[in-house]
Subunit: 258 residues, 2 copies
């Protein structure tokens, strides 16, 4: 499986992806699921992928024009006038790859894939999209300021409770480490290392990009510290008092005495 998140905050965008790919529990590998493009001072784009790896890699290669010699590439993805048009191009490319593998009905979920896509083009605000296998997409906004793809459930509660549009980019990175750590502990098909990309609003260039392994001191601090922090938070909640509840009116609970 996969876990990828893109967060939109006032200060910019933060992306994180895991690197595990598997063809069966006994056949796992590490693969990059985060691809970025940059024209310094003009645009920055980041794409996170989930689903069938052959599908998403093929779509990224097409977007990247890898069929052309590196010196001659002028990827269409870098020439779209707006982020919306860029998302449309990515969606169309993804759908073409899927229908090429599974036929025109997109009927086989086997070849399916999806993307989180975000970035900024000069003169326009940063934008974030969730692009589906069918080629259509939704955009992040005030009410849905982040997207998750892949194994999203374990790591969702902490994002829901902690996310705030005014968070710093560093706090976003910390939040994503906690969210990913919760997921890694419950689903073996999501695995370290993690790729992190920070984009500062209006910088129009790639910000910090790093790969986080299980040995990184900061990641270890977060992973171990979060268990203690959660236990302390739990202890700080008022205690449940069974005696107080006995006073509540009892409902008919169907307990049967023989």
């Amino acid at each position: 499986m996969t876990y990828c998140v893109g967060l939109l905050v006032d200060a910019g965008l933060v992306f994180m992806s895991d690197t595990r790919t598997n063809a069966g529990i006994d056949n796992i590998s590490t693969v990059l699921k985060m691809k970025t493009w940059e024209v310094p001072g003009e645009r920055f784009l980041c794409l996170l992928s989930a689903g069938n790896l052959a599908t998403t890699q093929s779509a990224v290669s097409l977007l990247d024009e890898r069929m052309v010699a590196p010196s001659e590439r002028q990827p269409a993805i870098l020439t779209q006038p707006t982020m919306f048009q860029t998302a449309k191009l990515i969606g169309e490319t993804l759908r073409e790859v899927i229908t090429g593998s599974s036929g025109p009905q997109c009927s086989s979920p086997m070849f399916s894939g999806s993307f989180i896509f975000g970035g900024q083009i000069k003169g326009m605000p940063p934008r974030l999209f969730n692009i589906y296998a069918e080629g259509n997409f939704v955009e992040a906004g005030e009410d849905n300021p982040f997207f998750q793809i892949g194994e999203h459930k374990y790591g969702r509660p902490i994002i829901i409770r902690t996310y705030d549009r005014s968070m710093s980019l560093a706090d976003c990175a910390k939040l994503l480490m906690v969210s990913f750590d919760s997921t890694l502990r419950s689903n073996l098909s999501v695995g370290l290392p993690l790729d992190l990309q920070i984009y500062e609003r209006d910088s129009l260039r790639a910000g910090l990009r790093t790969r986080i392994t299980g040995e990184d001191p900061y990641y270890k601090t977060v992973s171990e510290g979060w268990s203690d922090a959660l236990k302390n938070a739990f202890d700080a909640l008022p205690a449940f008092n069974p005696d107080a509840w006995r006073e509540h009116e009892e409902i008919d609970v169907g307990t049967q005495a023989a």
Copy 2:
């Protein structure tokens, strides 16, 4: 969907279940998914159900001998010599109901269901089981001291990080409220009110049984307090320092400058 949890600790057993059932997003109802049996001083049994409601209700009715007039009932579930035998009876009953609806191959997931079953019989320790649609089951132990059925993912990280075999029964109840609250916030097919059953080891009688609504002051305190507690726990973790990470060796990340 459904969310049910059974926790085994040194002090006894704690069970919680939600009450939402749905046949489509536009057709929801409240239903009891927790059934208990008690012979005071001799045994206490608790059964939590997930899956097709017609299947699980039918199995519970058969176990309860509801085809017999109430005064004449001597449910076989109350006459088994051990918890293992009782779990076996429940599993067989469940499988019979499912094959009765879907044919001998149990082929249709439509009629599927599963149970968490726990309790204690005099002279033996408390035991906890996860019973599958096929009629077989696994037992909780040192390494897997709790079971979840239904929508288990959102509420799992907090149990994994906080559970401790030496926890008090009251702390177990608090933990389950946090776990259920995280689930309720993310999946509409899990809904209030919640049913809680506490069983104190060697008491051999039903302990506190109560129904928790969204209006209960303690539940509201936990639900609202947990967001604040999580935020404080998050703030207490050391900050992510992008500058420290810039010093790391950069990997080849495939960023392309046009």
